[in-house]
């Protein structure tokens, strides 16, 4: 079977003046359809750069991204991004923020009424339909992120890219939103690539965890399969042996073998 999403020998070198920094080195990764893959690593290891390359917002220096065997090198709604800081447009309402993407993606394939229904459907999926006429400034951080997810989902992406989507949230809201994302993944079967620096989050949500070494020249250090059946329950897992083992593996990788070097 052909891989759904393939990162093929990706290098990224940032050049500023005469100084050039190699951020990513020889990244190879294949993701199957419907898979939930997390990329974890210390901050500054280039995981956000990697996500931006998949999103098409940054060009790789070498190598390419293949989606269904076709090279992608510019941003598009087939790889919708949920940004870390939600990036909702403050002058639009919640509804209009989601509708903006819907109108572009389905401009010819759906009628006006269908686009409206589809927008509301996606707001319902993240339980934000009640706030559809509010502006981003009027809703909480967790709600903004839900709308961000709705906006991305509404574009019917082939791959959903999550850039530390829960990073800016408090622990309780984060847990709640993680459960929502799990439920959505279960229900819609999206292919998801998520950047995170939270070990529990990675183990709880992912089918596979990609662990990155420290930059510069970050590589994929290890890929861990998470053999936990879905649907997963946060409370039950907290004493599950397989869960704890996965968690330990990631922790060992991050804190023993590739400890974060201050100001490396």
């Amino acid at each position: 079977m052909q891989p759904y999403l393939k990162l093929d020998h990706i290098d990224k070198i940032f050049t500023r003046g005469n100084a050039s920094t190699e951020v990513l080195k020889d990244i190879n990764l294949t993701i199957e359809k419907g898979e939930y893959v997390s990329i974890i690593g210390h901050s500054g290891c280039g995981k956000s750069t990697l996500l931006n390359i998949v999103a098409g917002l940054t060009d790789p220096t070498m190598g390419c991204v293949l989606l269904e065997n076709r090279e992608v090198n510019s941003p598009g709604p087939d790889r919708a991004v949920v940004f870390q800081n939600h990036s909702l447009l403050p002058w639009l309402t919640v509804y209009e923020n989601v509708r903006l993407g819907v109108d572009k993606v389905f401009s010819s394939s759906k009628t006006r009424a269908e686009r409206d229904a589809w927008t509301m459907h996606n707001l319902n999926l993240v339980q934000m339909a009640h706030a559809k006429d509010k502006r981003p400034a009027e809703i909480s951080g967790g709600m903004k992120q839900r709308v961000g997810i709705a906006r991305a989902l509404a574009m019917e992406p082939k791959v959903l890219l999550l850039d530390e989507p829960f990073g800016a949230l408090d622990a309780l809201t984060r847990a709640h939103l993680q459960d929502s994302v799990m439920a959505l993944h279960q229900k819609l079967g999206n292919t998801i690539l998520m950047i995170t620096h939270d070990v529990d989050e990675a183990v709880l949500l992912s089918d596979r965890i990609v662990m990155m070494t420290n930059g510069p020249s970050a590589r994929i250090g290890e890929v861990l399969d998470v053999p936990l059946a879905r649907p997963r329950k946060r409370l039950e897992l907290s004493t599950n042996a397989a869960y704890l083992k996965c968690r330990l593996r990631v922790l060992e990788f991050l804190y023993e073998r590739h400890r974060f070097v201050e100001a490396a």
């Binding site: 999103a55 790889r79 991004v81 990036s87 002058w91 572009k104």
Partner: protein
Amino acid sequence: MNMPAMKTEPATAVRATTAAPVVTMTPKRPPRADKYIKVARETAARVVPPLIVLALGMLFWELVCRRAGSALPPPSRVFKETKELIFDPFFDHGGIDKGLFWHLSASLQRVALGYSLAAVAGIALGTLVGQSVWAMRGLDPIFQVLRTIPPLAWLPLSLAAFRDGQPSAIFVIFITSIWPIIINTAVGIRNIPQDYRNVAAVVQLNPLEFFWKIMIPAAAPYIFTGLRIGIGLSWLAIVAAEMLIGGVGIGFFIWDAWNSSHISEIILALFYVGIIGFVLDRLIAGLAKIVTRGTALN
């Protein structure tokens, strides 16, 4: 919905009794009279202090200028001498012998035309300079030099080019008010967060959609700052320009009054100029509030 209103509506009352478990929560509101008193108090707090200062100022002016032989008339004489102009602003005896309404409206029309052109051209040029590094490198130094030229210095040149007072005055308004609009728009466009650009890229907005849906709303607070400075400057420039080009207009009215030694008329005209300048500024500020919906600066 408050309690007395419910009593007068039998339908609501019946429903309330039959479907007893459904309790509609009606938040307690202060009685209407209280609300009016509060609003009145807040208004008074803002209106009364400037009125007191104004009254004291007039009193001082009256005391200083009332003695015989003073160069400027006291407010009482200003009022006496300009009563006709104040109470009949609409007369029209042909030529430039018109009521103040006509003078002011002629000036406002010139400002409206010159300023509208400046707004459109300024936002367009500002967007270009803000968006393109090469446009900025090429145009910005030139703009920085041109914007320091005083408005009236443009007038002889524009008279030479247009050979007519009317378009020259409009050009002076245009060239005066365009610089702050260009510069502020450019800053606003340059400051659009990368996040918004990323969103636009993922959604694949085309350049025109990007302009209308991202750039203009994101830069709106800056653009309106430029527009407010621009309207102030154009109102400043019109009076000076009209003094030189003549014809109907508040500027020439002032100059004409000076030539015929009607000092009171000058004072009245200045009063109107100030009030209208203030109203224009508030108008643009109000428009900004509506357009940016008060949320653009979050």
